[in-house]
């Protein structure tokens, strides 16, 4: 096996992994703050993909330029979901939240089927066959753009949480909920905001991945599972862990496809998951509790 082929595939895997990481970032931020396990994660991502698809079909907008619009729409959906539904179950037993999110997931897939049908659809851009050469690496231009866009959105999220007053308030809620109530933070509003921001992230990841993947409603389950694998590997609730987990899963899938068979690629990400669960159950960058 020539080394430059391996380097090429690994880099492509890294770039895809960045998009996985961005999507998992949304899941992890929501869980880290609200402790809601978002079983409708992949569904929100597929809605983001369809949003970008519609913008492309009707206005000729390339998926990357659709990010602000789709992100804003998913922010609104996520905010409404938390404010209208999930906040009512904050003090209910955990399985109530699970049931709510699982039911929501089923309904969203059904809605996508009704609206868009079961067939795979994609955006066809002229730039799809462009490539970028960096030294020995020859990469699909789209994959490079996807990676860069994922880094940019993730960077925005990190800056928001680190420096914006609302970001600090959200981190305070994640840190100590009693303390947050003591200082008079409006916890329910901040939860809704977090769910909105997490969903916007997921929507952005949906737009980006549409450059690489065809969309169909059943993709949702795959992405939910993938995001959970990524987040558990990286550490539930850890933002940098989500990115790291995404990179690892992206690379391992790509290399598995090259060295063995593409159909065996999930074996590697799940193998990684099992290894992490045995050796470091809190995840690579997760906090021991």
């Amino acid at each position: 096996m020539p080394l430059d082929a391996i380097a090429n595939i690994a880099t492509a895997g890294l770039l895809t992994g960045l998009v996985y990481g961005l999507s998992a970032l949304g899941l992890s931020a929501i869980f880290g703050v609200t402790r809601i396990v978002n079983f409708a994660h992949g569904e929100l991502m597929v809605i983001g993909m369809y949003g970008a698809l519609l913008l492309f079909q009707h206005f000729g907008l390339a998926p990357l330029w659709a990010i602000p619009i789709v992100g804003a729409a998913l922010f609104a959906i996520g905010y409404a979901l938390q404010a209208g539904l999930v906040n009512r179950l904050l003090h209910a037993p955990e399985h109530m939240q699970f049931l709510l999110m699982a039911a929501l997931a089923i309904m969203l897939v059904a809605l996508c089927l009704m609206a868009f049908g079961p067939n795979a659809q994609n955006v066809t851009l002229e730039s799809a066959y462009d490539s970028v050469e960096i030294g020995v690496l020859i990469l699909d231009a789209h994959r490079v753009y996807a990676g860069i866009a994922a880094i940019a959105v993730a960077g925005l999220l990190f800056v928001f949480f680190r420096y914006h007053p609302l970001g600090k308030a959200i981190r305070a809620c994640a840190d100590n909920l009693t303390g947050a109530a003591v200082v008079g933070l409006n916890v329910k509003r901040l939860f809704a905001l977090t769910f909105g921001i997490g969903s916007a992230c997921i929507g952005a990841a949906g737009c980006i991945i549409l450059m690489l993947v065809d969309v169909h409603p059943y993709l949702a389950n795959t992405y939910t599972l993938l995001a959970f694998v990524v987040v558990i590997i990286g550490g539930m609730g850890s933002l940098s862990g989500a990115l790291l987990g995404g990179l690892l899963v992206g690379v391992s899938e790509a290399l598995a496809g090259l060295l063995l068979q593409p159909s065996l690629k999930s074996m590697f990400s799940f193998g990684l998951l099992i290894l992490v669960l045995i050796l470091r159950p809190e995840g690579l960058l997760g906090r021991r509790s």
Partner: protein
């Protein structure tokens, strides 16, 4: 300033407060003492909007706040230094203070409040970029008080501020409370250190099994036989 009337609070079927009434005048220090489980923290949490009382009224500056959520109560000017300090361990000292100033009433005055708090607690200024979880217990208590002051309260409820602190630090905390009171803050003080808090307090209430068993001036209670036997070990 704060007027609690006939307050009943339940956790499920268990009654935590039974027709509790108390009055806090502007500028006063009012002490609430009692054994563990007597309902002191429940009373504070009910006033702070963190528990919803079943009956009774809580009036603050003439407005009934019973059942209002905590972010509304805080924004009216009732601050709280909670039991166990409740700082944000992974946020820096400075971020803890900034989050304390997020109330609408305090937001515009954040810089000025920060300067005041840093002047009151130079230790916090030294450790401004350190994670709050790495501070000592005494420093965390200072941070909890400073964070509360960032919210520009008119009344502060202290819940067991001396719990788990070294004696010299306890004295420091009480010095700060007296100083804040002299600057015009109204204080509600829940303390296990009964002697110290009765000496400080204009009025005091003894809670037993969720009821007000004895009330009077701090000096009256210090002289009261029942209080001396039960809480001062004399």
């Amino acid at each position: 300033m704060l007027e609690v009337r006939d307050l009943d609070l339940y956790y499920g079927d268990a009654q935590a407060l039974d027709r509790v009434s108390l009055t806090v005048d502007p500028g006063a220090i009012v002490a609430i003492v009692g054994a563990n489980g007597a309902g002191k923290t429940s009373l504070i949490r009910a006033v702070a909007g963190m528990e919803r009382p079943r009956h009774g009224s809580i009036r603050f500056k003439g407005r009934d706040i019973a059942g209002q959520p905590s972010h509304v109560v805080c924004d009216l000017g009732i601050g709280q230094v909670a039991e166990g300090r409740q700082v944000f361990p992974n946020l820096s000292v400075l971020e803890n203070l900034e989050v304390g100033a997020m109330l609408p009433r305090a937001r515009d005055r954040q810089d000025e409040s920060l300067a005041e708090v840093m002047a009151l607690f130079p230790r916090l200024a030294e450790r401004r970029d350190q994670a709050a979880g790495t501070l000592s217990g005494g420093e965390q208590q200072m941070l909890a008080i400073g964070r509360c002051l960032m919210g520009k309260p008119e009344l502060i409820m202290f819940d067991e501020p001396s719990l788990g602190l070294a004696p010299t630090v306890v004295q420091e905390v009480f010095r700060v409370i007296r100083r804040l009171n002299r600057q015009g803050l109204t204080v509600v003080l829940v303390e296990q250190n009964v002697a110290l808090s009765l000496k400080l307090a204009a009025r005091a209430y003894v809670l037993e099994n969720g009821r007000v068993a004895i009330s009077g001036t701090g000096a009256d209670l210090l002289a009261d036989d029942r209080v001396r036997r039960a809480y001062l070990g004399m």
